[in-house]
């Protein structure tokens, strides 16, 4: 498939990396020259420098032959315009927009962009599922205090699979409030909870421990 990713920030970069690994042809369109250079140094010739909202840039990018366009900039209005222009002018079969403000999801649907992804929404839903009484406001507070709410999937070959949560030594100031396992669905885990492959693990951790925590659960045996 030929997939165009508009926006080469954190989300765009990781998305591109994953899609390339799946064997797709990818092009990232990014406005910031420095971000372009960073991606190009690491991933090679998959970047175009320019504004992905400009129809002329989309034409140069070969949008007319794209199977999919994914707009993941940090501005909802830009993501909306990218998807609308791609659909109306270039007849791209699938246009997916990242939504930063969850309130915009309904608006995007009404304006003909039916595939949207909102990370804020996903995390909030998970939290609501696991802790129905927990005030959502805390989510906004955590960042300012050097904490991150993160989630990741446990791959089948991971070292953590089959172990009890109590046997996994977490980094300081980290908690696992929610695990969504394929067999039990969402559970608030105890020390006795056994980690299953393909579980989604949600964690609250200090920013600097994020990678360490992720590795504990995802690193291969």
């Amino acid at each position: 498939m030929y997939i165009i990713v508009v926006g080469g920030g954190k989300v765009g970069y990781h998305l591109t990396k994953a899609l390339l690994a799946d064997g797709h042809e990818i092009l990232v369109i990014e406005r910031d020259r420095r971000k372009c250079d960073l991606i190009s140094d690491e991933l090679g010739g998959v970047v175009m420098h320019g504004d992905g909202c400009e129809a002329s840039n989309l034409a140069d990018a070969g949008t007319a032959r794209a199977d999919m366009i994914i707009a993941v900039t940090g501005d909802d209005e830009d993501n909306m315009v990218v998807c609308q222009v791609a659909k109306a002018k270039f007849q791209v079969p699938r246009a997916i927009a990242r939504i930063n403000n969850p309130k915009n999801e309904a608006i995007f649907k009404r304006l003909g962009i039916d595939e949207t992804v909102s990370s804020t929404q996903v995390i909030m839903e998970r939290i609501q599922m696991g802790m129905p009484t927990h005030p959502l406001l805390h989510l906004l507070d955590v960042r300012a205090h050097g904490l991150e709410v993160v989630e990741f999937r446990v791959p089948a070959g991971a070292r953590s699979v089959g172990r009890r949560l109590r046997d996994i030594i977490l980094p300081l100031h980290s908690v696992i409030p929610l695990i969504i396992s394929p067999s039990k669905g969402p559970v608030v885990p105890t020390g006795e909870t056994i980690i299953e492959a393909d579980s989604e693990v949600m964690a609250v951790t200090r920013t600097e421990s994020e990678d360490q925590l992720r590795l504990l659960f995802t690193e291969a045996r």
Binding site: L27, D41, G44, G45, V46, D60, G62, R65
Partner: protein, 133 residues
């Protein structure tokens, strides 16, 4: 190789370097494919041009008694393609020739050379034509 007047200098330099260390020379020509076309698009005209350029390089190398192999590639961007091939062939040295070029009245080196200088896994030799050439 890119078909510029600097190509013969690059071939000569590569052959000299190879001769001293008994190494092999690969001459590569990259066809840049526009994003509006698939990467494996059939580009007859560009292919013919690339083949000509590589044939010239081969002829020159032969007169210098140098073992040469040629490679014609299609890629989106020249810089990353060169770097990839250098990895693949485990090249010890990349040799590039450039002409003296001005754009908007200023000397310019383009995008490919800086990319290769920054990202190549090996030594890079650059030979620039005299300004008048």
């Amino acid at each position: 190789m890119n078909g510029s007047a600097a190509d013969p200098d690059a071939v000569r330099l590569a052959c000299e370097l190879a001769h001293d260390s008994n190494a092999k020379v690969y001459a590569m020509y990259v066809i840049e494919v526009k994003r509006s076309l698939p990467l494996d698009a059939d580009l007859a005209q560009e292919t013919a041009r690339g083949e000509l350029v590589l044939a010239d390089a081969e002829r020159l190398a032969n007169t210098l008694n140098c073992d040469i192999e040629t490679e014609l590639l299609q890629a989106r961007e020249v810089g990353p393609a060169i770097v990839d091939l250098a990895h693949e062939r485990r090249a010890d040295v990349l040799v590039m020739g450039i002409i003296y070029k001005r754009k908007f009245g200023e000397f310019t080196i383009g995008e490919t050379v800086p990319y290769v200088l920054k990202n190549a896994p090996c030594q890079v030799c650059l030979t620039r034509q005299p300004e008048s050439a």
